[in-house]
């Protein structure tokens, strides 16, 4: 038979846990309420501190992870080295031919480019950064990247890969930064259909695809059209590929356009960090004007 004190112990524990749960939940609600007015634009100082404090551990674990996956990849590659060598030789020959043509084109374009006054719109790459963590939860699509304020990165810097636009930095710690991916349910970017020149807004659907909104039903957009950044949102520079039109259906006022991103979001390993757009004037110059 249980002693009275043991009974008190068994009855008391769940109650104590319940009180603790209530306390923790109320604390969470208070913390959330305190942050809510900021609407998650740039994040809080506390978050920035936590990012900075977590950086050494995150980087150490990520480097081990990269080393392990790199070793496994190199072991697998050894088996296919000969066939790959032959394939690469053929590709190299093809590339040499392409290079010859491209050099001629570059010479021609260089002359044309000097005439264009679009230099401020061209993206400037600040640096590249490894993707340390990718989170997809309930519409949220964010990434933790291994670069921060120590490298001159600040909130709002666009991220891209050679295939296309990836997202933007939301909050930067000293050596780590958190980024919102373009696929996030609350992400949006000004976009332009490259073939027709029509402007719209690309939004993430939180499920791995994009929607192009505000394109009128009179548009001649069709499946396969390239959608690129329009440079009208004050965040992303103009002319970076975003995706290709996958399907077009007629809505009441606008077309309902589904876009498949060109950037390989599920296989992101590194990203390029671009200079914030529009470029901020150097300190002192704007004040002088």
């Amino acid at each position: 038979m249980r002693s009275p004190s043991a009974r008190i112990e068994t009855v008391g524990r769940p109650r104590r846990g319940g009180v603790l749960l209530a306390f923790v939940l109320v604390f969470c609600v208070l913390v959330l309420s305190a942050q809510a007015p900021a609407r998650g634009r740039r994040g809080s100082v506390l978050q920035s501190w936590i990012l900075t404090a977590a950086a050494p551990m995150v980087r150490a674990v990520a480097s081990v992870s990269r080393a392990v996956s790199g070793t496994s990849s190199s072991i697998a590659e050894t088996w296919t080295a000969r066939a790959e060598n032959e394939k690469l030789r053929r590709e190299l020959q093809k590339r040499d031919e392409e290079l010859f043509h491209l050099r001629a084109e570059v010479r021609q374009l260089r002359g044309e480019n000097s005439l264009r006054a679009s230099a401020p719109f061209l993206p400037t790459v600040v640096g590249s950064a490894p993707v340390l963590l990718l989170e997809r939860r309930a519409g949220l699509q964010s990434a933790l990247i291994g670069i921060g304020s120590a490298a001159g990165i600040e909130g709002g810097a666009p991220l891209a890969v050679p295939e296309g636009l990836v997202g933007r930095v939301v909050i930067a710690g000293r050596t780590l930064a958190r980024a919102q991916l373009l696929l996030d349910a609350s992400a949006a970017a000004g976009a332009r259909i490259a073939r027709t020149g029509e402007l719209g807004i690309v939004r993430g659907d939180g499920r791995g695809a994009l929607r192009l909104n505000h394109i009128p039903t009179t548009s001649r957009v069709r499946r396969g059209d390239l959608v690129e950044s329009a440079g009208i949102d004050g965040i992303y520079p103009r002319g970076i590929p975003i995706g290709r039109v996958e399907s077009v259906s007629r809505g009441s006022q606008f077309l309902d356009i589904r876009v498949v991103p060109t950037a390989p979001f599920s296989r992101l390993t590194d990203v390029l960090v671009l200079a914030p757009f529009p470029a901020r004037p150097a300190e002192g110059t704007s004040a002088a004007r």
Binding site: G18, L21, V24, L46, S65, R66, L140, A185
Partner: protein, 167 residues
């Protein structure tokens, strides 16, 4: 369960989260290690410790991936409490029951976070995506496998094997 092992579980879960999160194969088996850590503490540590572990794991997750601090902390603290409350019944159901409940908890975590994001940030509610379902399956299967490995009679199995060799 004492505080030292709880800290160890939390550190291990965080390390695993980044180890797999930093790899290019992250999508292949996307386990929510922090939820598994909370479930481990809930199994052995009681409701109070499960709540605190869930809150700590959630805060860490929020600081690194979310727009607001406290979304995952809220969800994981509540899940930790429920898991601790129901742990005895679940454990009697075996590894399959544990896996199923943890998979449901993963989906519940997503649902709580989605509702809080909708209320506080006006973000659209996105639930039941293939990614979320796959993560629930991976998290549930991993938790089930850990439970099976823990409850397996290793000592008897080793003894039987030794005796078979001696014959």
């Amino acid at each position: 369960m004492k505080l030292g092992p709880i800290a160890l579980v939390l550190a291990g879960a965080t390390a695993l989260e980044f180890f797999f999160g930093g790899s290019k194969f992250r999508g292949a088996w996307p386990v929510d290690w922090l939820l598994v850590g909370t479930a481990v503490v809930a199994r052995w540590g009681g409701s109070g410790r499960a709540v605190l572990t869930g809150a700590a794991a959630g805060f860490l997750e929020d600081a690194l991936t979310e727009n607001l601090l406290g979304l995952n902390a809220f969800a994981k603290a509540a899940i930790g409490y429920l898991l601790a409350f129901a742990s005895v019944r679940i454990i009697f159901g075996g590894a399959l029951a544990v896996g199923g409940v943890i998979a449901l908890c993963s989906l519940a975590n997503d649902a709580i976070v989605a509702v809080l994001r909708f209320l506080l940030l006006n973000s659209p509610i996105v639930l039941g995506t293939p990614d979320a379902l796959w993560r629930a399956v991976a998290t549930g299967a991993t938790a089930g496998a850990l439970e099976a490995a823990w409850s397996f009679p290793w000592r008897e199995w080793r003894e039987k094997r030794r005796q078979r060799r001696l014959r």
